[in-house]
């Protein structure tokens, strides 16, 4: 094994370029967050699975199910407003002390289904977080406010007239301050992102630096396996400690099975299984929570699953699930790229975001780390070894398809199987294939413009493009399910907000259309995909939803 490189060997830490988003002096630091956690642990307000046995009965004002972008923001705000808040998280309570930066540790520890979540037909790999902080613990930090054209779509088609840029602005400003969301300077982009920028500039395509939720970022490149320096302002170092500091409680390794609804149609609490951290299986201990209000924030796949398990299946529960389906291409360069180091996403191109009637898409980069790339390649034996043997010379760029803007589009759906497992289905049709082909064409052109000697697709039977003359063979390749690698890191929809109970699950104020005292605050309320990375939209909507939930507690 090589000597570990020194942090000084990777690109120098950068200062955020957007000073306006810097946190003020009152914003707690990572060290203060650790103190809040330690105090909560000592006082029993932060508990994990191994702390619990038998049946535990708890009472609170509001129980929040899931500690990701939706749940943590909601829970912290309600606790700070003086309410008695209990936050339940099915994943473990992992902090940077657990993050050894090895993919072999991180994916089983921090991702859903031990990193092996996929659509039921295995055609799409699903990257989704599962620990305190949810997907924010492992996401690649890219933050955007919800684009106005998406809000306009929601106002026009989903009865969300209140959702304007002006309405959301104060909520976005608040979370941007707390999470230190600012523009990552172009000068700090790693070589992988730089290929995206250079390729786009040569082609005359739009491309820009992204905004990131970081404070004291070391530019390490390990966002996806748990930030080693608490530079990423993920929920487990921000809003979760805020909750604990305000007197709220957190139980990790605690999977909510059902929402309890009484005869009058009012949510009364939840029933949860305590999980054994090692095996992931129920330990036998249970938690029963009696609450005035239940907030589901388990994400776009697990929130519909909880509703379905609870028999709260009226309306389109688990329907219209959006995934921003992802395809990628690997460009091989003469020079070293070392895309395993440096902020994994810092440049994006929205050149093809609007393609009229066809699916639009946007272009970003990924961390070029060995397990992720070996898995994504779909190859075996000598071809896999040849690709991986050049890992440090590879740039891997991706396209993300924007689904769900057509209100009639079925998109994906979530259901439970006979084993009680959540199953995600995402039928792919000719319109997806057309967009996937266009995304591949764009990615190949980007790499060629940036100087790649060869560009390899992730088809099971890969296509290699060495010049524009090879593009027709890429266009002729198959783009159906299980013919090429397809991924998703953005799960949205499945319990949409809207005015019409036949077409949505919760009202514009996040309250369930029928069940009193039940709210959904997470990515599942989005009535379409976003065309940008979703984390900040969820933070912002959750910040706004605090007020609606608080009203129900009056």
């Amino acid at each position: 094994m090589n000597e570990p490189i020194r942090p000084s060997d990777i690109p120098a830490p950068a200062t955020p370029g957007d000073a306006a988003a810097m946190p003020d002096a009152a914003t707690p630091t990572a060290a203060q967050a650790q103190q809040a956690r330690a105090a909560a642990r000592a006082s029993g307000r932060l508990r994990v699975g191994s702390d619990l046995s038998g049946e535990t009965a708890l009472r609170c004002d509001v129980v929040v199910v899931g500690s990701g972008a939706g749940g943590a923001v909601t829970a912290a705000g309600l606790a700070e407003a003086g309410h008695d808040v209990l936050l339940l998280e099915e994943g473990g309570d992992h902090t940077r002390a657990d993050f050894d930066l090895q993919e072999a540790t991180a994916y089983p520890m921090l991702y859903q289904d031990r990193g092996a979540r996929s659509t039921a037909d295995m055609a799409m790999t699903v990257l989704q977080g599962r620990s305190v902080g949810g997907s924010t613990t492992v996401n690649w930090t890219t933050c955007y406010r919800t684009p106005e054209r998406i809000l306009a779509n929601w106002r026009a088609h989903h009865g969300l007239e209140a959702l304007t840029e002006a309405e959301l602005a104060p909520h976005f400003s608040a979370v941007e301050r707390r999470l230190s969301i600012g523009t990552w300077p172009e000068s700090a982009a790693n070589a992988n992102n730089r290929r995206l920028l250079e390729g786009a500039r040569k082609l005359g395509w739009q491309a820009d630096s992204t905004r990131r939720n970081v404070r004291g970022c070391a530019n390490s490149g390990y966002c996806g396996v748990g930030c080693p320096v608490d530079g990423k302002q993920a929920m487990h170092v921000t809003f979760v400690p805020d909750l604990l500091r305000a007197g709220g409680r957190l139980i990790a390794d605690c999977r909510v099975e059902t929402v309890e609804v009484d005869a009058s149609g009012r949510a009364r609490g939840v029933v949860a299984s305590v999980l054994d951290r090692q095996t992931g299986k129920p330990s036998g201990a249970t938690v029963r929570v009696e609450a005035k209000v239940v907030v589901l924030s388990a994400g776009a796949i697990n929130t519909p699953a909880v509703l379905l398990r609870s028999g709260i299946s009226d309306g389109p529960v688990g329907r219209r699930t959006f995934l921003h389906p992802v395809v990628g291409m690997a460009g091989e360069y003469d020079e070293k790229i070392q895309g395993f180091y440096g902020a994994p996403q810092s440049i994006a191109s929205h050149q093809f975001i609007d393609r009229g009637e066809r699916y639009g898409f946007f272009l970003e980069a990924v961390p070029v780390q060995p397990m992720l790339i070996a898995f994504a390649s779909g190859q075996f034996g000598t071809p896999l070894r040849q690709l991986m043997g050049r890992l440090d010379h590879l740039s891997v760029l991706i396209g993300l398809l924007v689904d769900g803007l057509d209100p009639a589009e079925p998109a994906g759906h979530v259901e439970l199987d006979a084993h009680g497992r959540v199953r995600l289905h995402y039928p792919l049709g000719p319109a997806h294939a057309e967009a996937f082909a266009a995304m591949h064409d764009s990615l190949a052109r980007l790499h060629l413009a940036a100087g790649a000697g060869g560009v390899t697709s992730l088809h099971l039977d890969p296509v290699v493009v060495r010049s524009e003359a090879d593009l027709p063979s890429l266009a002729a390749a198959p783009y159906g399910a299980l013919e090429h690698g397809i991924f998703t890191a953005h799960q949205m929809g499945g319990a949409a907000m809207g005015r019409d109970p036949a077409r949505s699950v919760v009202r514009p104020d996040h309250r369930h259309h029928r069940v009193e005292g039940l709210y959904v605050v997470d990515g599942s309320v989005l009535p379409s995909a976003l065309g940008v990375n979703p984390s900040e939209t969820i933070y912002g909507l959750a910040h706004r939803a605090r007020g609606f939930v608080a009203e129900a507690l009056r």
Binding site: G280, P370, R421
Partner: protein, 181 residues
């Protein structure tokens, strides 16, 4: 054609029946790896098939460590032990289908189990599954090759071969072996 997980499962059960028939029809050689006695979820035979797959997904030579050295099959077994039991059962069934001699004879004209097919024969079978017109086979290939490639390429002993110096040391406390999860 769409293949749901349930259809995969159904085919897997059929495959297990075929596997049993295949076992009656063809004598297996004994020249397979002895399965460890500490398996978490996989049967010894399924582990042997998986180890044979791992050896072809991540072959040794030219300084690359072997999949056996990295203990890929047992790592995958341990991972499956931490997943939903139905998921582990499906992987077991896919391994049965892949190994199945009678099924291979009927569909591809091959006369040996996967384990006994030899390196070139095994590569040909994997290639058949990778590019098969049957989505079930492509899904099976993707699951098995993905699990093996992930376990292998995540191992620090492989990092020098891919030009990856490994993560820098930020002074984080590494969890005890098996202590994370």
């Amino acid at each position: 054609m769409k293949w749901t997980r349930r259809r995969l499962l159904g085919a897997g059960i059929g495959g297990s029946v075929l596997l049993a028939l295949g076992g009656l029809a063809m004598r297996r050689s004994d020249a397979t790896r002895p399965a460890p006695t500490t398996l978490v979820v996989l049967s010894p035979r399924a582990w042997q098939v998986l180890a044979a797959v791992a050896d072809r997904v991540c072959p040794s030579g030219d300084g690359w460590p072997s999949a056996d050295t990295i203990d890929v099959a047992s790592r995958v077994d341990a991972l499956l032990g931490r997943m939903h039991p139905a998921t582990a059962a499906e992987i077991e069934q896919v391994l049965g289908l892949l190994d199945n001699a009678l099924g291979g004879l009927l569909m591809d004209g091959r006369t040996s189990t996967f384990v006994d097919a030899g390196p070139e024969g095994q590569d040909a079978i994997l290639r058949d599954w990778q590019t098969s017109r049957i989505a079930l086979r492509r899904a099976g290939y993707k699951a098995l090759s993905g699990l093996c490639a992930s376990a292998y390429y995540a191992d620090p002993r492989v990092f020098p071969k891919v030009g990856y110096p490994g993560p820098p040391n930020y002074g984080n406390v590494a969890p005890a072996p098996g202590g994370a999860g």
